[in-house]
Structure formats: structure tokens, C-alpha cells
């Protein structure tokens, strides 16, 4: 029984590791918030991950390469702000204006088509 379960276990671990993408490409997202000290700032999300409050107006986050969505918490759910293209060992910078309702993205560099923030 245990011998039969072993390969299944190995496959399961393999699948789990693949899902975690342990050797996957990662890049960085730099989120700058203006104004730096905002009293009532909405929570920000990268895809479904809620971000910690941005300290001193800047947060640098490690992120898996690919396109990720930045959104803000709002009444009735999340409001998408912009798409961020993350590339391996590159940093993509986006400034979020918290004065606007909902907050607004300003890309340091934008893609020619689609307007996503790129590195």
C-alpha cells in the first residue's frame, strides 16, 4: 500500500512545487503613492494579494514575471487600476494617486498598446 502511495506522493509533491514555481522568473514592482502620507488610503491589491500599507510612500515588491493587476479596495469590491507587466529581474514602477477616487495609476513607462505599465 505504502509502495503504491509513494509514486503518487512524489507526483503530488512535484505538482505542488510546479504550482509554487520555485525556479520561476521573478521581477519587481515599485509602487509609489502620492501623497506620501495619506490619512484615508484605500487598500491596494496585486491580483488577489492584499498589500501591506505602503510605508513612506514607496513599496518594492517581488512578483512573479507576467502581467499582474493592481486594484484598490472600494465599496462593493475591488476597483481595477491598471495592468503591470513584470519582467525577469526588472523593476516596473507605478505611481498611485490616492487623491483621486478611485485611486489612479501613473506608469513610469507605458506599453505602446494597451497602456499597461512596463519596465
Amino acid at each position: 500500500m505504502s509502495m503504491r502511495a509513494l509514486p503518487i506522493g512524489v507526483v503530488a509533491i512535484g505538482l505542488a512545487l510546479a504550482a509554487c514555481n520555485p525556479t520561476g522568473d521573478t521581477g519587481y514592482v515599485e509602487i509609489r503613492t502620492v501623497p506620501v502620507a495619506s490619512q484615508r488610503s484605500s487598500s491596494l491589491y496585486l491580483d488577489s494579494t492584499k498589500l501591506e500599507p505602503v510605508q513612506k510612500g514607496v513599496a518594492v515588491l517581488k512578483q512573479r514575471a507576467g502581467t499582474t493587476k493592481l486594484s484598490a479596495e472600494s465599496i462593493g469590491g475591488q476597483v481595477p487600476l491598471c495592468d503591470i507587466v513584470v519582467r525577469k529581474n526588472r523593476i516596473t514602477t507605478v505611481t498611485v494617486s490616492l487623491l483621486d477616487r478611485p485611486p489612479r495609476c501613473q506608469c513610469r513607462n507605458s506599453a505602446p498598446k494597451g497602456g499597461a505599465c512596463v519596465s
Binding site: 521573478t26 519587481y28 501591506e52 518594492v60 515588491l61 517581488k62 529581474n89 526588472r90 519596465s119
Partner: protein, 225 residues
């Protein structure tokens, strides 16, 4: 260009070494203070573990800095040789990987930063709890409070240093990106030049073939002509 951008503005080996020294300096009191706790306070020793872990991680990060610094300097010197564009591109790619690794450690969701936040939260929580703790005599409580206050201050300073490192690495990565884009443009110019050479050679071949054909046609004489 890369050398001036990195060496001149963004990358300062001396500053980096100073940063490493500061890391070491910040980490030392944390370790030292863990040894000053009264042995009877096992609960306190348990609570100090996140701080120790943070200190250990900082130490590891600090140890990686001189090596990283040397590799970056070596690579920067190599990138300065612009004659080999492909090599320059490869060097910048390797540099990005190096800086990316360092940035990954100190990024806000990186292991060291998260440990730092956790350690700071523990120190603050311990101070808050000590204020309400009735187990100790006033002088004991005073001693413990002073220790935790010092620990908190050191951890805050270490976290500030991490923020500075984060900014430094992020700026460096951005500089490398800009330089890589420039190198990429150079590669494209070179490729366009090569393509032009191929077209020119092809045009020359066609012209020669045309001349040869003309000569051949000119050489054809009908019988009796």
C-alpha cells in the same frame, strides 16, 4: 556609460561597505541583548526569537554584500568594453540578476524585510505587555523595559537601513535597465547594418549577373550576320 552611471551616482562601493558595517553594527546589540536577559525569564527568551532570527538574516545579507560588490565592479568593468555588444548585453543581464537577488532579499515582501517587521512588532508588543505586567518588581520591570526599548530602537534602525538598501538596489536596477535598453538599440543598429551589407552585396551580385547576361546576349550572332 555604465561605469559612470553606476560608479558616479547610483553605486558607491564605499557607501555599500558602510552600509554593511551599519548592518553589522545594528545587528550586534540585538545579539548582545539576547544574552543579557535573566535566565529565569524563559517566556522573554521565547519572545526574543524573532529578533534573533532577523539578526541572523541580516548577518547573512551583510555577508553577501562584499562579494556582490566585487562581482558588480568586475562586471561593470567588462561592460565598459563596448566593442562587443553581445557580451555587454550578457554582462548587464548578469548584473541585473545579481542586483535582483539582492533586491529580492530586501524587498517589502522579501524574507529579511518581513522578519524585520515581525521583530519590530514583537518588540513593541513586549513593551506594551511589560507596562501591564505585575509579575516583576519595579526595578526588574525597569530593566526589562530598558532592554526592550533599546532592542526596539535597534530594530527600527536596522529596518531603516533595509529601506535605504531597497532604494539603492531599486535605483541600480533601473539604471541597468536603461543601459540594457541602450545596448539593445546598439544591437539593433548593428543588425540593421548587417542587413544593409547583405542587401548591398546582393545588389552587386545582381548587377554582375546582369552584366554577364548582357555580354552573353551581345555575343550571340545569328548565322550569316
Amino acid at each position: 556609460m555604465v561605469r559612470s552611471a553606476i560608479g558616479g551616482r547610483h553605486w558607491k562601493p564605499v557607501a555599500l561597505l558602510a552600509f554593511a558595517a551599519l548592518m553589522f553594527w545594528s545587528a550586534l546589540p540585538v545579539t548582545a541583548q539576547t544574552q543579557t536577559q535573566p535566565p529565569s525569564q524563559s517566556q522573554t527568551l521565547d519572545a526574543i526569537t524573532p529578533v534573533e532570527e532577523f539578526s541572523r538574516q541580516l548577518e547573512q545579507f551583510k555577508n553577501s554584500i562584499p562579494q556582490l560588490n566585487k562581482r558588480i565592479e568586475d562586471s561593470t568593468a567588462a561592460v565598459d568594453r563596448w566593442t562587443n555588444v553581445e557580451r555587454a548585453r550578457k554582462e548587464i543581464e548578469e548584473l541585473r540578476a545579481l542586483v535582483g537577488t539582492a533586491l529580492g532579499a530586501v524587498s517589502d515582501n522579501g524574507s529579511v524585510s518581513q522578519l524585520g517587521a515581525k521583530a519590530l512588532a514583537h518588540a513593541r508588543e513586549k513593551l506594551r505587555m511589560l507596562e501591564q505586567d505585575t509579575r516583576f518588581r519595579p526595578e526588574e520591570r525597569k530593566f526589562l523595559t530598558e532592554q526592550w526599548q533599546r532592542l526596539r530602537a535597534d530594530t527600527e534602525r536596522a529596518n531603516d537601513e533595509l529601506s535605504a538598501a531597497r532604494k539603492e538596489f531599486a535605483d541600480l536596477l533601473r539604471t541597468l535597465q536603461a543601459n540594457e535598453d541602450f545596448v539593445e538599440e546598439l544591437v539593433q543598429i548593428r543588425q540593421a547594418q548587417k542587413a544593409l551589407e547583405v542587401i548591398q552585396r546582393l545588389t552587386q551580385d545582381i548587377r554582375e549577373a546582369n552584366d554577364q547576361l548582357k555580354r552573353l546576349i551581345g555575343g550571340i550572332k545569328p548565322p550569316g550576320a
